[in-house]
Structures are given as C-alpha cells and as structure tokens.
Symmetry: C2
Amino acid sequence: MARANLTPAVVVAAAADLADREGVDAITLSALARGFGVQTASLYSHVRDRAALLDGVHELALGELADRIAEGIGGRSGRDALVALAEAHRDYAGAFPGRWAVLLRPAAASTVRSASAGRVAALTLAMLRGYHLPESELVHATRLLAATVNGFLALEANGSFGHREPSTDISWGRALDALDTVFRSWA
Amino acid sequence: MARANLTPAVVVAAAADLADREGVDAITLSALARGFGVQTASLYSHVRDRAALLDGVHELALGELADRIAEGIGGRSGRDALVALAEAHRDYAGAFPGRWAVLLRPAAASTVRSASAGRVAALTLAMLRGYHLPESELVHATRLLAATVNGFLALEANGSFGHREPSTDISWGRALDALDTVFRSWA
DNA sequence: TGAGCTACCTAAACCCTTTAGGTTTCAGCC
DNA sequence: GGCTGAAACCTAAAGGGTTTAGGTAGCTCA
C-alpha cells in the first residue's frame, strides 16, 4: 500500500480546492480522506481538527489574495490603485468561490496575526495613503473600503442581487466611483 | 405523555432563538428536539429538513427586520431616513446575532419572492427616492447601500475590525456620512 | 362514543468527527 | 545488510447529527 505522503500543506490545499469545487460545507475530513485514498483518522496526524483545517485554508487564501493585490497595484496610485485592489478581490472571489467563502468566516487569532493578513493590511493602507487623508482617518477609510468591497462581493456571491438587469458589473463600477469620490473629498 | 403541540412556526422561532444564543451551527434538529422534549424524528412532521428550517428562520428574520426598518424610517426622509434604515440593520444585527448570521446566507428562491423580502426592498427604495436619483440609478444605489451596510456589519460581527481603537462606532458614522454624500451628489 | 386525523414515537441506516492505540514504511546509521 | 526510531497510516469505537419508514397514542368532532 503506497503512502500518500501527506503534509499539512497538502491537506490544506486539497481542502481549498474541494471548497472551490463543492462549497465550504463540503470540506470534511472524510471527503478529503477519500480523495487521498486514506482513512479519515489518518488526517488527524496532519491537522488538529476540522476548525484548524479551515483556519489553514483561511491563511492560504489570505496569502494568495495578498499576492494578487500586490501584483495588481504594481506601480499604480490613486484611483488606479483603488480599482486594482478592488478588482483583485473580485477576481479572486470569482475564481475561487470556496476559498473566498472561507475568507468571509471569522478568522482565528493566529490568522489575524499572520504575515499574510499583515500584507493585505499593509497593501490596503499603502493604497489609501495615495489619497492623502489625515492619518487618524485611515482606519475609518480602511473599514469603509473593506466593508463595501466585501459586502458587494458577498451579496453578489450569495445571489442577493439576483440575475436582474442591469448587470452587477455596472453597479460594481458605480461603487468604485463612489469610493474614489469619497476618499478624494474626505472631510 | 403531554403533547408539545408544535407547529412549523414554533419550531422556526425556537431555531432562531437557539441561533441567537449559540450560533447558526447550533441549529440542529437534535438540539431543538431536546428543547421541546420530543424525539428528533418528530420534528420532520413540521419541517421538511434542516435546510428548510434555515430558510424559515431567514424569512422570519427578514420580516422582523422589515418591521424595524419601517418603524425607524417613520416620517423621516433624506439623511435621517438613511441613518434610520442603517441603524435598524445594525441594531438588529447586534440584538439578534444568530438571526443576522442566517440572513447573510444565500436565500432560498422562495424567500427572495417572499413578502418580507419585498417589504425590505420597498422600504429601501422609498428611502432612496428621497435623494432624487435618476430612476435608472436606483438599482445601483440600492446595491451600494446594501453592500456597505451588510459588509460593515459582517466585518464587525466576525471580528475583522478587531477591538482596536478608535471604536467602530466612529467608523460606522463615517460610512453613513459617505453614503449620504454619495447619494446627494450622485453623478 | 368511536373514527379518523395528527402529533409523536421507535427503529434503523448513513455520514461525519474525534480519540486511542496498534502497525507499517522508510531514512539513515552502525 | 540489518537495526532503529519517527512518521505515516490503520483499525476500532464512541458520540452526534440527519433523514426515512412505519407504528401508536391523543384530540376533535360527528
């Protein structure tokens, strides 16, 4: 019986893929074990429990998202940077719905303190600095940005916007316009 | 053996209360049955399955939220109405975290078509009409509003904002200011 | 009073999680 | 080459949850 040679990282990656294919609820130790051709209990050598597995996926997704944000922002600033950051989120949510859904769940304390979380925060802050807001307002601007982007994508993902015309693409553009306007003329 | 005299509505209400006390994941037919002093299988006479139960809670919550929005908006208009609507959401999310979490999940098709969903939509639309946007822009404004409010409350609820100073109350105020500004000067 | 509907029950199949403790495999070293 | 120890993997089992099928008891009303 050949070994699967699993590692925590391999298990977490498989969980992320499974979530993208069949939804977050499909992340079960049983399903993963079946996929690896291994007994369920064996996975507990690599992952503490199901919660820890989800935390792992969370952190993985955060890192991937940070990469995409960094690449998108590139040398841009101002509105271009804002759009790039938002678009990175939307592309990621569209391409990896399962990973995205995991990101929307409460993060473990360790995840909040992770390097990936820090990178996302730093990139967001760097982008916002391009708008020259008062330093003390940066937190509020960050929260507004995060709320709007995440809120939009969440509603889009769970079907709250329906499939009605006009398409959500236009609404998405309006939302980015609104954010840009707000940041440029922050009281 | 005294009968519990259950009805679908009673079961759904109990599920909602349970969610507020212990979280959405605590909504199990088993737990509810224990609460009623009844066998788990008996609940299937009143509720098709767990998914239908959650749909019931979703619709219940939507109705309660609509009531609060209506009461909050009262005779107000413009910014006052916007704040009342947003505050109704925030109060509800704070007071009934479990019900709120259920609202954030994808809605069943029947729920989308329900009277409660219609009421929330109608109230939102009525509020936005106070800003005199072009009729064709109302959809986009609605989506931006929903995204911002829901996004903010979701991030607040799942701890993404941390407990850091300054408090989220101030950020919340900034977000409402931003929405008001955007709606008043919609391009 | 008794017929019938409904509320509730027992039984059972099936799936998932998690713990405990045993066995196999493999790299590296004498 | 054979031994050894650490991983990697396994079996077994307890404990919950969901759901279906079919049986029984209690209430209502003719």
